[in-house]
């Protein structure tokens, strides 16, 4: 995987909510992610490590430090200890 020539990575917390929590079977993990990439690359990177998420990869919101992260964003910058979250909608009630 090449995310540019530098391939700098950082360790972030990755939180799972709703269906993603059910699929992965965990609430929170630590994951090494590229420090600079596009939104799509970041999502692909997460799905690569948690392939069970591919089922819902088109139907979720990503957030970075509690702020919406646009998957169409071209430049995402991540830092050590950042908090990423995978948030699919809940439809029950």
């Amino acid at each position: 995987m090449a995310y540019g020539s530098e391939r700098v990575t950082c360790l972030v917390s990755l939180l799972f909510f709703a269906k993603s929590r059910e699929l992965v079977g965990q609430k929170e993990v630590q994951l090494q992610v590229p420090s600079a990439c596009t939104g799509k690359q970041l999502l692909n990177h997460i799905v690569l490590f948690y392939p069970e998420l591919s089922l819902i990869s088109n139907n979720l919101v990503l957030s970075l430090n509690d702020k919406y992260l646009d998957i169409d964003e071209n430049q995402v910058t991540l830092q050590e200890n950042d908090e990423l979250a995978v948030i699919p909608p809940i439809s029950g009630g």
């Binding site: 269906k19 139907n59 509690d66 919406y68 948030i87 909608p89 029950g92 009630g93």
Partner: protein, 453 residues
């Protein structure tokens, strides 16, 4: 029959008539609507004052600095529609009624069941079988008769949604399925109404306000619906009753805030509630998406579409019966019962989650292989089953192949399990079958004391 027997009979019939009347929704106070009501389109006259009774009833909120008489009059002049009279709709309805909302519409196509009562707290035991929307307004009316209540016993769909929504100022999404969520979103965008959306499953809840104050709509965040197999509903995944209780209460609060303009709403914010950790996390959302198909700058959705088709799923949270197997791959509960009684050797595989085996089990030794982990562990499962089959094969039954019998709660997962097991056991000439209709069928046809859930 003697006279006393006749009298009893008469009494029973009268009770039955009362029960049927209730089911039909013949209520002396409320007219249960099964189609959108024309008269509602007229806006009610706005009130500008509070009555003496209003002042006493709402005194504790009238003295709030930000709320006051102005806030109470705003609440009184606001019409709220709650879609879904279930776990979210009940708490939302009762708090809006208590707060003195002007008109409260409640939509639900369903009737009250015993398994609803742990979370749908406005229904009662004696209303099992009654229309949920009627049950909710009956309960609300006991708390506050001054609100105008409109119960709708119907399925909200593309043909009626806009007509109904038009008579209301704020809409609450308290539904339980994806198709209705997209329908309500699009309807609210087309009608220009804010949508207070709540949802809950297991120990988690979500809350946000769509299409309000420059915030996004549901489609801005989730342009594509999830594949139907990725959707878990409450009857399958379970839900702790108080979780929708909390989210539904917050929906009422949001509606009151929007009606009165106090505070800041959950527009462009998503609340994530985790009941087990006891945490509320707020995620800042994106603004309205310019390329959104319904609320964007060049919308392509200008009228409601077929949402069941769009989502590839029915607009209910009821489970649908799958028909995946041939007749020869299935046995009825009765046939299985005969198998047990005649002591025919077989391997019984219960594919429900382990936690559900504590609720009830068939009267035969069982191997629990939860369907959800089956594909992950398929090799180990194959070895385990072959070993067990070998143990059970004896000379007593020469022409008899010991089968693997799969069972689950309703007979859907058991069919999927048979399909998966067939793939790995076919080479070993193992017969894999399932019990049609699962434990529900067992309870219905074989053992009426067997619990269903």
């Amino acid at each position: 029959m003697n006279e006393e027997q006749l009298r009893n009979e008469l009494q029973n019939k009268e009770k039955e008539i009362q029960r049927l009347k209730k089911l039909l929704g013949e209520d002396e106070h409320f007219k249960l609507l099964t189609v959108p009501e024309k008269d509602l389109e007229k806006q009610k006259e706005k009130s500008e004052t509070l009555s003496k009774e209003d002042i006493s009833r709402y005194s504790r909120q009238l003295i709030l600095d930000d709320f006051g008489v102005k806030g109470q009059i705003a609440v009184k002049n606001t019409n709220v529609l709650i879609v879904g009279a279930g776990g979210l709709g009940c708490p939302a309805a009762i708090y809006l009624a208590a707060a003195g909302i002007g008109r409260l519409g409640v939509i639900d196509y369903d009737e009250v069941e015993l398994s609803n009562l742990h979370r749908q707290i406005l229904h009662t035991v004696d209303r099992v079988g009654l229309s949920k929307s009627l049950s909710v307004v009956q309960s609300c009316c006991r708390l506050n008769p001054s609100t105008e209540y409109v119960p709708y016993h119907l399925q909200l769909d593309s043909s009626n949604a806009l007509r109904i929504i038009e008579s209301y100022d704020i809409i609450l999404d308290a539904t339980d399925n994806v198709a209705t969520r997209y329908l309500l979103n699009d309807a609210c965008v087309l009608a220009g109404k804010p949508l207070v959306s709540g949802s809950a499953l297991r120990f988690e809840g979500q809350l946000t306000v769509y299409h309000h104050d420059g915030g996004p709509c549901y489609r801005c965040l989730y342009p594509q619906p999830p594949p139907s197999e990725a959707v878990t509903n409450c009857s399958e995944g379970g839900v702790l009753g108080v979780v929708p209780g909390i989210i539904g209460s917050l929906q009422a609060l949001e509606a009151i805030k929007i009606a009165t303009g106090i505070g800041t709403s959950f527009s462009q914010k998503l609340l994530l509630f985790d009941a087990l950790d006891g945490t509320f996390r707020t995620v800042k959302l994106r603004p309205r998406c310019k390329s959104c198909l319904v609320c964007g700058e060049n919308p392509t959705i200008s009228q409601l579409i077929d949402y069941e088709q769009f989502c590839g799923a029915k607009a209910t949270d009821k489970d649908h019966k799958l028909h995946l197997l041939e007749r020869s791959q299935r046995i009825s509960a009765k046939e299985y019962s005969e198998m047990v009684n005649s002591k025919k050797p077989h391997v019984l595989v219960d594919v429900r989650p382990a936690i559900e085996l504590d609720i009830c089990q068939l009267p035969h030794p069982v191997i629990n292989i939860p369907f959800t982990s089956l594909s992950r562990n398929i090799t180990e499962v194959k070895d385990q089953l072959l070993l067990k089959l070998k143990e059970l094969s004896s000379d007593d039954f020469h022409d008899y192949t010991v089968p693997v019998v799969c069972v689950c709660r309703r007979g859907n997962d058991s069919q999927l399990a048979v399909q998966q097991l067939m793939k790995v056991l076919a080479d070993d000439k193992v017969k894999v079958i399932d019990i049609k209709g699962g434990l529900h069928s067992w309870s219905k046809h074989i053992d009426s004391h067997f619990p269903i859930y």
